[in-house]
């Protein structure tokens, strides 16, 4: 490529990047890296994932990565370099068939191989629903543990990206939250993504690993380069507060962090909790917090009816009933498919969340 062409490309990429940043509905603020996990390196979310998979394939000779387009590095560049490093029997393309990808992955896991399956967009995980819910989730139960597919991890990009519309923006956590036997995890940042992916890969239960795609490049942190895992089913209190508990996961955490800052200007002290694992979820941490604050707002991009916030709300009202000062508020996507140009009006943005905070405080 000519130098002129190259510089034109760089410029247009920069313009696109800054435009995207201006249009983003959140601000990503990196966490401080954990002090006990050794040296770190600047990595964005997708590079942290590549790093996790690299470590997995290095230490586990049975580990394989497969899905649509993973061989050349993946449409989101999450598997770049892995085929060259580990060979085409370990990192390979499959035909375009999600039910096949998951079914194949289950079989490989049952036969004892660590199977890391990629579904190109979470919106397309639905053809695999039968394999995930009727097979993967129930394999151990129905055989009394004679057979199980704990070595299966399904990774998939999810969530709003600014222009994804109906079929490139969904987060299907609610459907899988209802499928006991699975673990469902959604990391908010690169440090979280690497540790949680390694945890899911090594966990002896089939895991759905949801990766908010808008964070792939927007989120950059100092990520420990070594091998580490983070605990599943443990919610994290990111900010302590006394007036209201804000509960969310994935990209929405970054919205909530900003909401907490805005609320603080009005003298409202917010506690922010990242659920991290949707199934099995850490009700204990959440209920302890809401019992303290007496108020809560639960938020997610997915539509409100039948959404996961309902599960959290039902548990909170049962466990914290006498401590509640206000009804539990949910700020979610509306009950519509995910619109394209109307996305800003659909999303549970910081202004809707902030309004919900004021509602519960002034109840």
């Amino acid at each position: 490529m000519s130098l002129l062409r190259q510089s034109r490309n760089i410029l247009s990429n920069l313009r696109a990047k800054s435009l995207a940043k201006r249009l983003m509905h959140f601000k990503f603020e990196p966490d401080n890296p954990p002090t006990n996990l050794g040296p770190t390196e600047n990595m964005n979310y997708l590079k942290a994932l590549t790093n996790a998979m690299d470590i997995s394939l290095e230490n586990d000779p049975t580990a394989i990565i497969f899905g649509e387009d993973v061989a050349f590095g993946g449409v989101f560049r999450c598997t770049v370099g892995l085929r060259e490093k580990y060979g085409n029997d370990r990192v390979f393309n499959t035909p375009l068939c999600e039910q096949g990808i998951v079914g194949f992955g289950i079989g490989a896991a049952v036969a004892g191989s660590t199977a890391i399956a990629e579904i190109q967009f979470a919106d397309y995980i639905l053809p695999a629903f039968d394999q995930i819910v009727n097979e993967a989730a129930k394999y151990r139960y129905r055989s009394g543990g004679l057979f199980e597919c704990g070595k299966l991890t399904i990774r998939t990009p999810c969530g709003a990206v600014g222009h994804g519309a109906l079929y490139h923006s969904q987060t299907p956590e609610a459907y899988f939250a209802h499928s006991t036997g699975l673990k469902v995890v959604i990391p908010r940042s690169p440090i979280q993504a690497k540790g949680l992916l390694l945890a899911c890969i090594r966990d002896d239960n089939p895991c759905i690993f949801l990766e908010p795609k808008i964070l792939y490049r927007a989120a950059e942190e100092e990520v420990p380069v070594g091998d580490y895992t983070l605990p599943l089913s443990q919610a994290e209190v990111l900010r302590e507060g006394s007036d209201v508990t804000l509960i969310g996961y994935g990209t929405q955490i970054h919205v909530l962090k900003e909401v907490a800052e805005l609320a603080a200007k009005d003298g409202i002290s917010c506690e922010v909790i990242d659920l991290v694992t949707i199934l099995p979820w850490d009700a204990d941490t959440v209920c302890t917090s809401v019992s303290k604050t007496g108020r809560c707002v639960i938020t997610h991009e997915s539509p409100v009816t039948g959404g996961f916030a309902g599960e959290v709300a039902a548990t909170i009202q049962k466990e914290c009933f006498l401590n509640l000062e206000a009804p539990v508020e949910r700020v979610c996507g509306y009950d519509t498919p995910f619109p394209h140009v109307l996305e800003p009006f659909f999303m549970p943005d910081k202004w809707r969340c902030l309004q919900a905070v004021k509602n519960v405080v002034n109840y």
Binding site: F104, S143, G145, L146, N205
Partner: protein, 440 residues
């Protein structure tokens, strides 16, 4: 080479892939084209995937149902070997084990079917008519080969050594069932015998078999996978996914279709319009054969060869075994509502796999007799009745086991729910069948 040439010459699809590979040294494309009088317009186009020749004649491919894929057969209806070169020359020991397992399967099916009718077990599925598909194929495999089955393959388990008490304990859902009575009857599984636990959804096992075969190719070379399914299940999307994945990823998997004529009440001609399941094989680039599923030795030979090819060449093989489901679909079905007694009688009496095999071992191999046959029936009945009497007496599993094996360990929410269940049941024990179960 275009498909059209194959159909015109009625060449079996078996040769499609090898032709493309030029393996069996058949005629080249240009030579064949000249013989038909149709000249390709160029030397071929470079479409990514398969090379093509171009033609100027507008002609659609017609699936010619007069030239269906032939049925491989070794034994005729009298149990006589048709072509001596195809006799696998099995030992008397193997032949007798094959026959005894078929008879035991029949007798177990009869007694368990009655048990369901008497309300002793909740549900049952018989295997009548398909004994040769089970025993013939199972005998051709090694014990280390992994089996993914659908639900009508009990003979495979029997061949491998699943005991009567194990069959019964699963059907009776008692404390000896490794799955603690969690599944309906006939959903067997055995880790020791490399038989993956049955699940009710159809065809889901098929892409799993492809994945397992791929994994085993890397970690346990020399081990193959066999995947059983019916012609009805073959209509599911999972079947298509399985064939395509196994073929593109070079998985050493035998796909064994039991085409038994019916999917519950739906006859095969309402299940597909083309030439059965076998005709799909070459579409996926798979080696394919159709066999007489009621001919134990044909099934044996085909499976043995398929296994050899699958492992040596790292590729899937499709076997379509033509057979007939003599029994009802299950104890919830009454097949007299959708098929004639005449049809049923033909397959029960005239073209019966067990009878054909019995004729072979008695008349051809002279290692069996009518007297031994009668004694065998009596012995089998006695054993089955002893086993089911014992299974019936055993307790059902503890109610606390509702919560186990959902995950590898009980998570917080399930520990809590287990506690709630125990408290509730203890407080209202008169409403729960606790006497039949091990303690809470």
């Amino acid at each position: 080479m275009s498909m059209r040439h194959f159909i015109k010459f009625g060449k079996p699809y078996l040769h499609t892939r090898s032709l493309l590979r030029g393996k069996y040294g058949l005629q080249t494309c240009t030579h064949v084209a000249k013989s038909t009088g149709v000249q390709p317009t160029s030397d071929g186009n470079n479409f990514i995937g398969i090379p093509h020749n171009c033609v100027t004649k507008l002609e659609f491919l017609e699936p010619k149902m007069e030239n269906t894929i032939p049925v491989y057969q070794v034994l005729d209806s009298d149990g006589k070997i048709i072509d001596e070169t195809q006799d696998p020359k099995l030992s008397d020991e193997i032949l007798l084990k094959m026959y005894k397992d078929m008879k035991m399967l029949n007798i177990m099916d009869g007694i368990m079917y009655s048990a369901q009718r008497q309300g002793r077990i909740s549900f049952y599925m018989t295997n009548y008519g398909e004994e040769a598909t089970h025993i013939g194929s199972a005998a051709a495999l090694e014990m280390r080969d992994l089996v993914f089955a659908q639900y009508r393959e009990a003979g495979v388990l029997m061949w491998r050594g699943f005991r009567l008490d194990q069959f019964m304990d699963q059907c009776y859902a008692n404390i000896n069932d490794p799955a603690s009575g969690k599944q309906m009857p006939v959903h067997y599984g055995s880790k020791d015998l490399n038989f993956v636990t049955i699940s009710s959804p159809l065809a889901t096992q098929m892409p799993q078999a492809a994945g397992a075969a791929y994994a085993l190719k890397r970690t346990n070379p020399g081990t193959c996978v066999i995947c059983y399914f019916g012609e009805g299940a073959a209509s599911e999307g999972d079947a298509h996914a399985a064939f395509n994945f196994a073929a593109t990823l070079d998985a050493p998997c035998i796909f064994f279709c039991r085409n038994n004529g019916y999917a519950i009440s739906t006859p095969a001609h309402e299940q597909y319009r083309g030439d059965g399941i076998a005709s799909r094989g070459s579409g996926y680039g798979m080696l394919t054969i159709r066999v007489d599923g009621n001919d134990t030795l044909a099934v044996y030979n085909a499976t043995r060869k398929a296994r050899q090819i699958a492992l040596e060449e790292s590729r899937p093989v499709l076997i379509e075994a033509m057979t007939y489901r003599v029994g009802d679909h299950s104890t919830s079905d009454d097949s007299s509502t959708y098929r004639t007694t005449g049809e049923l009688e033909y397959w029960t009496k005239t073209n019966n796999p067990v009878t054909r095999f019995e004729r072979y071992i008695t008349n051809q191999r002279n290692c069996w007799s009518a007297e031994e046959d009668e004694k065998l029936s009596k012995d089998c009945s006695k054993q089955v009745i002893e086993a089911f009497t014992a299974a019936e007496k055993r307790l059902k599993p503890s109610p606390s086991l509702v919560f186990t094996d959902v995950y590898d360990e009980l998570p917080v929410n399930l520990k809590e729910q287990q506690k709630q269940m125990r408290e509730h049941v203890s407080a209202h024990s008169q409403h729960y069948p606790l006497k039949r179960h091990e303690p809470l």
